[in-house]
Symmetry: C3
């Protein structure tokens, strides 16, 4: 869309829009961007400023005047100034009485002040109706019109009507208002734009920790051990061989951790005989980040797939294959096809492919636009039934892949188990417990508990 044409549009004499005038305090970046967008959407805009002279930066069609004058022209006033300068508003208390003040401010740190900016504003001008909104929208996005990032505008406030007015403006600007309740929610809303993937913190830290541990474990067994005992330099294993061991291990462990809390919750419910007591806090938190855990697991699985598929292109692998063939030829030995080996190799590859395919399917259904289009029963079917099938296939893939090593003493270098065995502990435990929970003697009471039945009914928490 052409910006110039839309500017003209709003100024056109033909336009008989009856939108009410909107006032903006502050001619900074955000104030101007918001003014620009409001004018585009047909609102008459006045700016309130300490130095009320029109500059070339003020969007065309807007007037600039003193704070007091501007405030009198409109019922809604956007406070696009920084919290530190709010106190001058007390002098305007009379004019602002009954007006809707929209606090658009943000802080630079989480929980910077004891109370939220919006509440502070509400204390300064008790007669006004303060609404928190627009703080999650950037000036740049407003100005350029390319709202690639979120279109969601979180709105909160104590006065329902004032909130409705602001939400109408949000909608007119082509954004999506989300009512967050009373002004007490402003603190959370003000923290929101400062957050950086809060739900992802635990899964990512966990996987970083595990990656570090497994990296040094593999380094010791695969690089240092052969160097010490066989004087072989396998340092290049750091690039592909070792990562391609760590990735599937982490994928499987994290996938196991996605389903572990569900199993634990079932055990707790069975033990307590009721579903009406809160789970321990750590379990609650764990359950809420299962989606993130699963997606990190999917990321590791995808990288594992790529690492595996490039194997035949690797210079080392090509050398090893040709070396083996040449030594066979020189020893004049022809090998017959070992069908057992063919079976093992083909079946772990097939299991892995199917498991990965289902895993990707799970990932796709967790896309917001897809999960929004399925009903609850379908969502549960995909996330629970398909999820467990994925876990079973991936665990089987790992078991078939490394089954032969369990009983081979040579794989226990330095008396340490091969690294891939670690990956099996959690998924196998989950699958075993889940299998036990399917038995009717446990499944029936569990189902009844989940439908609201209590073993010892009592209203004590």
């Amino acid at each position: 869309m052409n910006k110039n044409s839309s500017n003209i549009m709003a100024l056109a004499p033909k336009s008989s829009n009856k939108r009410e005038t909107v006032c903006i305090f502050g001619t900074g970046d955000f104030g101007r961007a918001l003014g620009h967008k409001l004018i585009q959407s047909g609102y008459p805009v006045v700016f309130g400023s300490r130095s009320p002279q029109t500059s070339s930066l003020i969007p065309k069609g807007a007037e600039v005047m003193s704070h007091a004058e501007a405030a009198q022209k409109a019922a809604i006033i956007f406070i696009a100034i920084q919290r530190q300068h709010y106190n001058f508003l007390t002098s305007l208390a009379e004019i602002l009485h009954g007006k809707v003040l929209v606090d658009v401010s943000n802080n630079s740190k989480i929980n910077e002040y004891p109370e939220s900016n919006a509440e502070y504003l509400s204390q300064l001008v008790p007669g006004a109706k303060v609404v928190k909104a627009f703080n999650t929208v950037s000036a740049w996005a407003l100005q350029s019109g390319t709202l690639d990032a979120s279109r969601q505008v979180f709105v909160c406030g104590d006065d329902t009507e004032a909130k409705q007015l602001v939400m109408d403006i949000v909608r007119t600007l082509g954004l999506t208002p989300l009512d967050q309740g009373s002004l007490l929610a402003a603190r959370e809303i003000e923290n929101y734009p400062l957050q950086l993937f809060p739900m992802w913190k635990f899964p990512i830290l966990l996987s970083l920790g595990l990656t570090t541990f497994f990296f040094f474990y593999c380094l010791a067994l695969d690089v240092i051990y052969p160097y010490v005992y066989e004087k072989k330099d396998f340092s290049f294993f750091i690039a592909i061989t070792i990562p391609n061991k760590i990735c599937p291990i982490l994928a499987l462990i994290l996938l196991g951790l996605v389903y572990l809390p569900g199993v634990l919750a079932a055990i707790i419910q069975l033990y307590r005989g009721t579903k009406y007591r809160r789970f321990p806090d750590w379990l609650d938190k764990w359950m809420l980040c299962r989606k993130q855990l699963g997606l990190v697991a999917l990321a590791f699985a995808s990288v594992h797939v790529l690492y595996t598929l490039v194997i035949p292109i690797r210079s080392f692998v090509r050398w090893r294959i040709s070396d083996r063939i040449i030594s066979q030829v020189l020893n004049n030995r022809t090998e017959l096809l070992n069908t057992t080996n063919a079976w093992i190799s083909d079946s772990y590859l097939a299991l892995g492919i199917l498991g990965f395919f289902l895993f990707v399917l799970l990932g796709i259904t967790s896309l917001p636009s897809v999960s929004n289009n399925v009903n609850w029963r379908e969502f549960r079917f995909v996330q629970s039934k398909l999820g467990y099938l994925t876990l079973i296939l991936c665990t089987a893939h790992t078991l078939v892949y490394g089954g032969k090593w369990f009983l081979k003493p040579s794989s226990y270098k330095w008396y340490l188990p091969p690294v891939y065995m670690f990956s099996l502990i959690i998924p196998c435990s989950v699958l075993v417990v889940k299998f036990v929970l399917i038995f009717p003697c446990l499944d029936k009471p569990l189902t009844r508990i989940r439908q609201g039945w209590e073993r010892n009914p009592q209203y004590s928490e």
Copy 2:
């Protein structure tokens, strides 16, 4: 978000919300979850219950009283009890007169009762305005706030104003109301949460059937035939070789089936000389599940790609390659590069890669959030032009891959054609007919018919 803080929020004395009181009949799981969410959003909530004592389970801030008392406090009453217990409401008919009753109930089977629960409620309390809503939202999703599944709330009812009131509440709770018309739509809405991918049933059953057929066909020709005639055990082909034949065949057949109904529709329209007569029912249904057919085809194609890319890692393939090299060496034979073979091999791989790439592109544009951001012309361009290009590339990939086998008698084991030939029938027919339809002598009348022209104009159906 912290649950505790939001509870406090709603109770805070500062909050001067003017939302109207909402009543909930029933203190079961769903009633309590809904109450919790309503209180969070600033609604005063009263519960109507047979045993009106406040328990620790009732969300903080809500009052519990008898049904009659609770009903008098609010204009909107959510009936969060099961259909079997509805009949006690007849005794409250007077109090409920003129109130908005929101039926949130679900059944456990599709079409369990002759009339929908909402219609039954409306018959029991004829003076009330019954609105069906919220039945697609789960208690768990309301309580935890993690509405991963659908945010859509289907609403229907005979009274427009009552419906508007309910839709406002839906919006305030951060959900998306979808007006489905009069109360007669309640039956469909009540069936909705019981459905499990109804549009996917036909594509999945079809592909299961075809998979079974092709599996046994391949088993006979690839495993049993060599076992019988050459005493070779190729049973491990079941893991990768045979699936990697079935997947591309199904992908191509299903992709052909996506475009076949469009071609059939064009023929029917040309034959009838009008577009104003309904297509046969099976064709209508077929056209509506084209997207699902295409996505299942894409799934098969993706698995085919993975199966193909692991080929060089397979133990059997490595053995075969080294066996061939060793036998060449032992016979002291060096082969020259066969450029024809190189051309065939490279071009079918290239065609397959490009076809698959376009196929994935089609899949991505069918994601709701992507297709929602393109206009009609762009959507048609992608789904029709790019779609046919995909079909052409994939068919060419298959033709180049297996062209040499058509004339080789050894590929007709037991007088049966190689399995991949089956995959070419539908796509080739579609492409030939489509090619014929492009000729001006057919394309021109077709375009005119689609613009509304009729060969024998008559208003008879």
Copy 3:
């Protein structure tokens, strides 16, 4: 959903919907489809037609009458006739006075007429309130209910109340209204459905041009050169080898072009000492199509990955490997593992895999539904931090891959540099400049400029 049942639904005597009657002028395809949908949603519908007899095509439940009669029955009139026939409306001017006229028309060419259809309508019937809407929705989508394409309905008009009425209808039909401002926006809205990926034009044309250039460059060096000097026929390189050189080159160049405008903008801002002067037009346009450039780059990268992964399956590659082994055997030479080669091969593969993985991640976060769920800080983090990491990894991948060729004279056939060197120019320049910009002596003033500071404050543009 069953169409028949919903028809019945609307006609059911029980339905006491109080929706206001809506009038549609024109019984063509779109008019009928719209009428059908409106009746389904509970609106009484009357059609205005030149020949007012009910035909079997008119949706059940609608009445057909003369234009004048129909117009009198409703406050909102949809003008579902073509612009050429608008002039008869002047004769109805009196009846249409004060009514809301909804212009749903489209043109067949961009900017076909001097003024938009909606403005023309408004000039013809000055007393009516004209609203532009529904032109982006297809009759087929309305009729079939399968709104796979956009659900967005762009609405504009000079009368705010009239616009609200139309937007309410849009919402009731299950579509999403987007207020685009005054009637002057109608021109843009009418052009919208005629557009075919306007933002993608530049990236696609650019990559087509570059592809052509690099194709002939590679053809000369890889096919013609060996044919001329060594009489070798490598024509089959056209299928995979050459595309697999072009794809990574284009991916890297386009990825560089995504980050180049940001770097240029920083230099311009530093030089000017202010951010309040507009960038040159070409830079503005370039910045707005960065997302599309990036996605085209991702497409090339994906095809490159597929082309690379099929390498070991290629008939030519298999021949080359076995040829090499056989010649080694015949010369009785065994090669020792070259760890340097193993390091180079493994590390460029690992860099490529990680770069591609991050690239796909960037692609996923650019999906509308995902980017809609992250806040501004998160979006910036992903697009900027992860984006630069991707660029670094991909450039390193290319450098490690081809490093050895820089100093080898044999790679400069016909005195031309190997083609892959071209791909390094832009990304390396971007990375070098970006690295320089990170130095505090440049970073500090830049940050201050971006926060609004000006070196020579003056309000001149």
